[in-house]
């Protein structure tokens, strides 16, 4: 049905990767290909293994078995071409914002002056003007998060890995962050970000990967996911609704089920049989009763998420898997 992307021209390739913390599998037999230039949402419930996978991609921890390739090499060798926003945010509390950014930029291979200039440009761009001279501890949590985001993009990396970039941001800042991520993608960067906010992923990504309990459930372009998980449902808004209408709709040929839309009381969801043509179904419904509106229901990631995670036995209890433990010793 859905095939993973081909390995050639991939930014990230994971082959049969396995990672265990004690007796718990954090990641199991994971194959993953993230094509260059894609904007990939890395989805999964809490404790699914997203952060562990990201840490392995970053070569911060190492898999027990399997291979990880990033930008045709190891993340260790390509550190300066990768931007990384870790799940746990951290800054030097007493350092000034611009000095912190310049420091990280220099560590990522920029010269001091360039790092400082870019830091100031980014602070303007991300709506933090006038904060450069402040100490990091003087900033609000949301501001600190934005500063940390700048630290991950300052050196203009080819690949950007963002672990939960939207968590802790208010709607305004989340929107700003979405716009910046889209801009970076438009500029040709490969971006992978983890989230459990399906709406955000749906709005931004061109590709999604879904994992649960350390196993991959889905890895495909968003358009293909929509087709593959088409609910084959139309949304109708009847002009006059009486109690018998739902019953009578169910009796129509080609209709398998009718239920009320949980998100909008005025809407009914008409699920058609798989062999029934959607357009023909819409015509039949419109002929049946006067309608305010009739539309094809687009498959939501929420639906795909709930279906796949539900089928795979529900979300895993949050294990200490995301934590690094002794078996996660990195190689020197």
């Amino acid at each position: 049905m859905i095939r993973p992307a081909p390995e050639r021209d991939a930014a990230i390739v994971l082959q049969n990767v396995q990672k265990r913390f004690g007796t718990t599998y954090a990641v199991r037999d994971l194959d993953l290909v993230v094509p260059r230039g894609s904007l990939c949402g890395f989805l999964g419930p809490n404790g699914a293994g997203k952060s562990t996978t990201i840490r392995m991609i970053m070569s911060i921890i190492y898999p027990d078995s399997g291979a990880v390739r990033v930008l045709d090499g190891s993340a260790l060798a390509k550190k300066d071409q990768i931007g990384y926003l870790p799940e746990e945010r951290g800054l030097y509390r007493t350092m000034r914002v611009v000095e912190f950014l310049a420091y990280i930029g220099t560590l990522k291979g920029l010269d001091g002056a360039t790092a400082k200039r870019r830091a100031l440009e980014w602070l303007e761009r991300i709506d933090l003007p006038g904060q450069a001279k402040k100490k990091c501890q003087e900033l609000s949590k949301g501001m600190q998060q934005k500063v940390q985001f700048i630290a991950s993009v300052l050196h203009d990396p080819e690949l950007l890995i963002l672990d939960e970039p939207f968590s802790g941001l208010d709607p305004m800042n989340a929107m700003l962050m979405s716009r910046v991520i889209t801009d970076l993608h438009d500029a040709g960067k490969t971006i992978i970000f983890s989230t459990h906010q399906m709406r955000t992923a749906e709005a931004l990504c061109d590709r999604v990967v879904l994992i649960n309990r350390g196993e991959k459930l889905l890895d495909a372009p968003l358009a293909e996911v929509r087709t593959a998980f088409d609910e084959h449902t139309i949304i109708i808004e009847p002009q006059h609704e009486d109690s018998a209408l739902m019953q009578r709709l169910r009796g129509l040929p080609g209709v398998s089920d009718v239920r009320r839309d949980e998100e909008n009381d005025a809407h009914l969801l008409v699920r058609l049989n798989d062999e029934q043509n959607l357009q023909a179904g819409m015509v039949a419904v419109m002929a049946f009763a006067p309608m305010h509106s009739v539309a094809i229901k687009r498959t939501s990631l929420d639906f795909v998420f709930l279906k796949l995670v539900g089928d795979s036995g529900g979300a895993a209890p949050i294990a200490p898997a995301a934590r690094v433990s002794t078996t996660g010793a990195p190689r020197s």
Binding site: E88, G90, I104, A151, R323, A329
Partner: protein, 459 residues
């Protein structure tokens, strides 16, 4: 494509990263107000105060004039005391003569006399009112209470016999009498009593006291060059201690800074950001290098101050240039040994409290040279000194104690200590690096010292 140029630049980037980390470490440790004040200015002020203190203390107390009554049936003690008080009055006008007398007493080992003379008492003008009538004592006490007399002493006649053991010399002074003056009365009365006792038994006090005086020592030791050099208590005990303290303070201060900055990076969660830019090894190398610079500043500043202090006292000859070379060599050894321990512990814990449990055993080992200071500097070639010279974590401290002591130590021991010291320093550096790369990503419960050692073997 990996052209030779790009490989070379890759290598230099690694070094640049280490230097970048080192510079930040130095800047945010040493170029801060807290450091400049706490580690540089405050110790200087303390030193200055210690230097100025004797001047403050030697300022003369207000002049003392008055009468002391002595109830003495023999009349001899009163006479001796009168002489002594007169002498004290004369001496209070002649402070230079006083200093010479102190040095003379010190050289002859006459500690009691030295103490007596070292106490400046200011201008005194005391007359003695002697009485041989024992019943007058109570009336005299009353006059002390009404501040008419400075004090009254009652001499028990038994004190002047050859069996004075259980007898006491009773002295009553005014409530406002300063401890310094009271001590002076006591000293003069004691010595007057002894003089009277000697006179009563027909002896000659001056003669006896000259005979009892310890001889003045003029000790020479064979110097390294074959000639002779003056033996000195300062050189034997305090110069080694000074050197060890210099080493100890500079190494431990920066070790402590290394511990706190590593813990800060972990507790602030900035570690993962750093590790996305540098490898754990680059981070460790940068941090150790940066703090080495901090430590060098400390040893440099304190060292220069201490040396200029010695030079001011014309004692710079106590520190031969070779000793400074050894200091640098053993400083490097000591710094890396302590720094590796601190970095390993810092990487494994999430806050300072947790670190204490792991640092304490290491600190106890390193307190050993402090405890051994006296025995080692007293006997730099004793069994204890020789054995501890080859036990890794204390090698640099013990060796500096021994090398700075006046007794020369065999060359083979110095060489062997260097070989063992530097070999174990490299082993510690390797082990700490392995612990560090595991520790920096650790969260949650801190490991036990044993677990920490196990991390060395993780692949």
């Amino acid at each position: 494509m990996n052209t030779p140029e790009s490989t070379a630049s890759g290598r230099s980037t690694g070094m640049t990263k280490i230097l970048t980390v080192a510079w930040r470490e130095f800047k945010y440790t040493a170029l801060t107000k807290a450091f400049v004040f706490g580690a540089i200015i405050l110790p200087m002020v303390i030193w200055a105060v210690i230097a100025v203190m004797p001047l403050l203390i030697s300022r003369e107390p207000p002049p003392l004039t008055g009468t002391i009554a002595i109830v003495d049936e023999s009349g001899l003690v009163s006479a001796e005391a009168e002489k002594a008080f007169r002498a004290a009055a004369e001496r209070s006008k002649d402070t230079v003569g006083d200093a010479i007398a102190i040095v003379g007493a010190a050289q002859s080992g006459d500690i009691a006399a030295m103490q007596g003379m070292a106490e400046p008492i200011g201008t005194v003008n005391i007359t003695v009112e002697g009485t041989t009538d024992p019943t007058a004592a109570e009336a005299l006490r009353e006059r002390v209470r009404s501040n008419e007399l400075l004090g009254v002493a009652v001499i028990d006649p038994q004190l002047l016999t050859d069996q004075p053991q259980n007898a006491t010399l009773e002295l009553l002074v005014q409530s406002t009498s300063s401890p310094k003056h009271t001590t002076m009365y006591e000293r003069i009365l004691r010595s007057a009593t002894v003089k009277a006792r000697v006179a009563l038994t027909g002896g000659n006090y001056e003669q006896l006291s000259a005979m009892l005086k310890n001889p003045v020592m003029d000790t020479q030791r064979v110097a390294r060059g074959g000639g002779t050099a003056k033996e000195s208590v300062v050189a034997r005990i305090f110069v080694p201690f000074g050197f060890m303290l210099l080493l100890w303070i500079s190494v431990f201060s920066s070790g402590q800074y290394l511990l706190t900055t590593t813990i800060e990076e972990k507790s602030n969660k900035v570690m993962e950001v750093l590790l996305s830019a540098v490898s754990p090894m680059q981070l460790l190398a940068g941090k150790i290098l940066g703090q080495a610079l901090v430590s060098a500043v400390l040893i440099g500043v304190y060292g220069v101050v201490a040396m200029s202090g010695l030079a001011l006292l014309s004692m710079a000859d106590l520190v031969p240039p070779m000793l400074l070379v050894y200091l640098v060599i053993y400083y490097v050894m000591a710094y890396f040994m302590v720094a590796t321990m601190m970095a390993a512990v810092g990487s494994a814990v999430s806050d300072l409290r947790e670190a204490q449990a792991l640092v304490t055993p290491a600190m106890l080992v390193l307190m050993v040279p402090m405890i051994l200071w006296m025995p080692i500097s007293d006997s730099p070639n004793g069994m204890l000194a020789v054995v501890t010279s080859f036990i890794p974590p204390v090698i640099p401290f013990v060796m500096i104690l021994r090398l700075a002591a006046s007794e020369p130590i065999p060359m083979w021991q110095t060489m062997l200590s260097l070989v063992i010291g530097f070999a174990s320093m490299f082993v510690m550096l390797w082990a700490a690096a392995r612990i560090f790369r595991v520790g920096v990503l650790m969260q949650g419960k801190p490991p036990s010292p044993l677990e920490l050692l196990k991390w060395i073997h993780y692949q």
